[in-house]
Amino acid sequence: MKTGFDNLAARLANVPWGETLAAALWLLLVAVAVLAFMATFAGVTTWVERRIAGRMMSRIGPNRVGPAGFLQWLADGLKCFLKEDVIPDAADRPLFRMAPYLVFAGCFGAFAALPFGYGLAASGIDAGIFYVSAVTSLVVVGILMAGWSSNNKWSLLGGVRGAAQIISYEIPAGLAALSVVALAGTPNLQGIIQAQGGWPWQWFAFHNPFASIAFFVFLASLLAEGNRTPFDLPEAESELVAGYVTEYSGMRFLFFLFAEWANIWVMAALIVTLFLGGWQVPGAALPDAGTGRTFWILASAAVFFMKTLTFAFLVVWVRWTLPRLRVDQLTDLCWKVFVPAGFVCLIGSSACVLIPGQGAWHAVHRVVQWGLTAAGFGLAAGLLWRARTNIKNLNERIYLKVWT
């Protein structure tokens, strides 16, 4: 990434304010690139999610616009932009209009620090995970603002629920992330990936039992922070009509949804970065420079995308499988289970940092790592096998063409 900026700066060297101009242009370029990626991902994911949901529910899902309905997201987006933007009379207008942008900004801000591949990130900010955790908190402000300014009681309940939930779950998420920071020795997201290896037993999720627990705590906490089922209480349709988005329509409504789907990428990318080796290519030491660098950047990006999309799929899968928790069960789970577990993970992982790089302890650690890896992959394989059996049993009775 540095090289691109250097080229630009060199070309503008003779222009007055050249360096500042170059920096501004570069920022704009990166921001547009990230925004374009975010928009495409969020859009395509709406289609993918609806197709997956349709398959799970033995129905078809959107299949009219474009091949297999692929362009449905564009049609929906266009429709939302053309709709009237209704603002209730009694709403607090400035807040009501601002809230979607805050939610959007919180989500977009997170993309600035997320890695996409080896050396591929909008910003290699050193605060890394802390920055992401901080900037996504903007979402809470937006949700609370939306709930309050709508002047609708269902919205208010949703907004307050959202604030309580997201703030609660930042704590276990932060603790779980901290245990990884302790292992990696840096909060920088690229640094965390570089501290892991390409092979599964080199991932932090399988580094030690505490880190494995931290992985699950982090996964659940992120689902809760992203308002995804089983933690989608702020917009619980059957209870709160639509929660904080009840009064929104058209483009502003779209912004909330946009942030929600883009957030799937943030969740999945964070999990992959912190726990699953990020973009590390198994068995390859990535060169800092030289002829093969472009190839390795692409290869690492491919690995990262594959892992991230797998987890994005998991997030979607969970959403269409599980019912929703009650609000007190949700906070109970957070404060009585996840927060203590997070502290245990943090202390345990920190202790594991002390394991020396050789000797008997090192050998024990290796065995534990392999064991955890086997257990983790066994769990995943069991889940997939069960899903496959269910689908096979179902297919005896139901035939759905997947692509029509």
């Binding site: 949901a53 799970m56 529910m57 033995s58 129905r59 009694a90 002047n151 009681k153 269902w154 208010l156 309940l157 629920r161 089922t229 089983p230 989608d232 209480l233 619980a236 349709e237 059957s238 209870e239 709160l240 009509v241 269409w320 499988t321 599980l322 019912p323 929703r324 928790l325 009650r326 609000v327 007190d328 069960q329 269910n390 049993n393 179902l394 009775r397 139901i398």
Partner: protein
């Protein structure tokens, strides 16, 4: 906590003033995703805790009882479908039984069997919807659509049985409107084979889900005494631990000829009378209904499907109370005749209406989220409440 919007209706003002200053008055319904039809629950909340729940019914009142007084007996049969659109067959049966008893009409045995098959298939339809919507109220959309998928299969059968998928108008005084088409018994048995595979799958998907169970157990407990004093019926009554089923305790039609179990609450997690017990009773009842249908189809006797009766009977003056075990509980028709060709007075007793009366007693103290679970598990249908 929140200012009342002054431009709203003034009807609610007394209630708002009567309650605590910290509480919120909120209307759940008549247009709310989980009230399943136009029912309004006026809630007084403190935070998310319900202080007072006030059901307001009548949005769907169509004066069906009054219509019976101006409609000939036969012409009233289609109106009974509209009492409960999810379990219309029972409404047909109750009305036909009332008139048959008053007019002294004998129903042929084959016709009774056809009625039982249709009714029990209808019970499957209703319970599939009920269990599915309970899951949907708790945020799980997939089980609902799986249940709907199976319901479509029963609807297909219903279409083959009586030509209609929702408002059946299948029964006539002295029998049913038409005989089984050739091969229909095979179709029904095929469906039952399929259905017996579906239920365990559904249970794996949702009934055994830990989140789902925890959302339902010990929520909205209706003790046996309360259930009786409020006149609950059907699954709601049996879930409270009272082993009472009209099909067995007050036998009608040909039900004594079939073997079936009457599930009661409390045999799964949680206590008798909670929302999970009601949900499980419905699941278990589906198994029993499938058994009854299988026995009836396999033992279907030959004979007439409709007795020779006048097109529009004019029963002698008198009164009769006929009741059937509807999918929602006791469905009673109290019919007074003055000897003309239409009812002098008709009173329809529905269990949904009784179930609504429990809400203000049980709901205070629970959270809004619990109320949707509780309300979903009561399986109330708006048209049956209001008639």
């Amino acid at each position: 906590m929140i200012q009342e919007n002054t431009s709203k209706t003034s009807v609610d003002q007394p209630a708002a003033q009567a309650s605590n200053e910290d509480s919120t008055l909120i209307h759940m319904g008549p247009q709310h995703p989980s009230t399943h039809g136009v029912i309004n629950l006026t809630l007084t909340l403190e935070g998310e805790i319900i202080v007072k729940a006030d059901p307001r019914v009548g949005y769907l009142h169509r004066g069906i009882e009054k219509l019976a007084e101006i409609t000939p007996y036969t012409g009233f049969i289609p109106f009974t479908d509209r009492i409960d659109y999810l379990a219309a067959m029972f409404c047909n049966q109750g009305w036909c039984m009332a008139v048959e008893r008053l007019a002294g009409i004998q129903v042929p045995r084959r016709a009774e069997y056809l009625r039982v098959i249709a009714c029990e298939l209808n019970r499957l339809i209703n319970h599939l919807i009920s269990c599915g919507t309970t899951a949907m109220d708790l945020g799980a959309f997939t089980p609902f659509l799986h249940a709907i998928r199976e319901r479509e299969k029963v609807n297909d059968l219903m279409e083959k049985i009586c030509g209609s998928r929702l408002n059946y108008t299948f029964m006539r005084f002295g029998g049913v409107c038409r005989d089984f088409a050739p091969g229909l018994d095979r179709d029904i048995l095929d469906f039952l084979d399929r259905f017996e595979k579906f239920l365990p799958e559904f249970n794996r998907l949702i009934s055994g889900n830990e989140i789902f169970i925890r959302r339902l157990v010990n929520v909205g407990v209706i003790p046996a005494g309360l259930a009786v004093s409020h006149g609950l019926g059907g699954p709601n009554l049996r879930a409270s631990g009272i082993d009472f089923d009209l099909r067995r305790n007050r036998p009608y039609s040909v039900y004594p000829e079939f073997q079936f179990r009457v599930p009661t609450g409390g045999s799964y997690r949680g206590e008798a009378g909670d929302s999970f017990a009601r949900y499980r009773v419905r699941i278990d009842e589906m198994v029993e209904s499938a058994r009854i249908v299988r026995q009836a189809v396999e033992g279907l006797p030959e004979g007439e499907f409709l007795a020779k009766v006048p097109r529009n009977p004019a029963p002698p003056a008198g009164e009769v109370y006929a009741r059937v075990e509807s999918a929602r509980g006791e469905l009673g028709y109290y019919l007074v005749s003055d000897g003309s060709d239409r009812a002098f007075r008709l009173k329809i007793r529905t269990s949904s209406f009784c179930a609504m009366t429990v809400i203000p007693v049980v709901a205070p103290g629970m959270m809004v989220a619990d109320l949707t679970a509780f309300f979903g598990s009561l399986d109330v249908v708006a048209p049956e409440v209001d008639r």
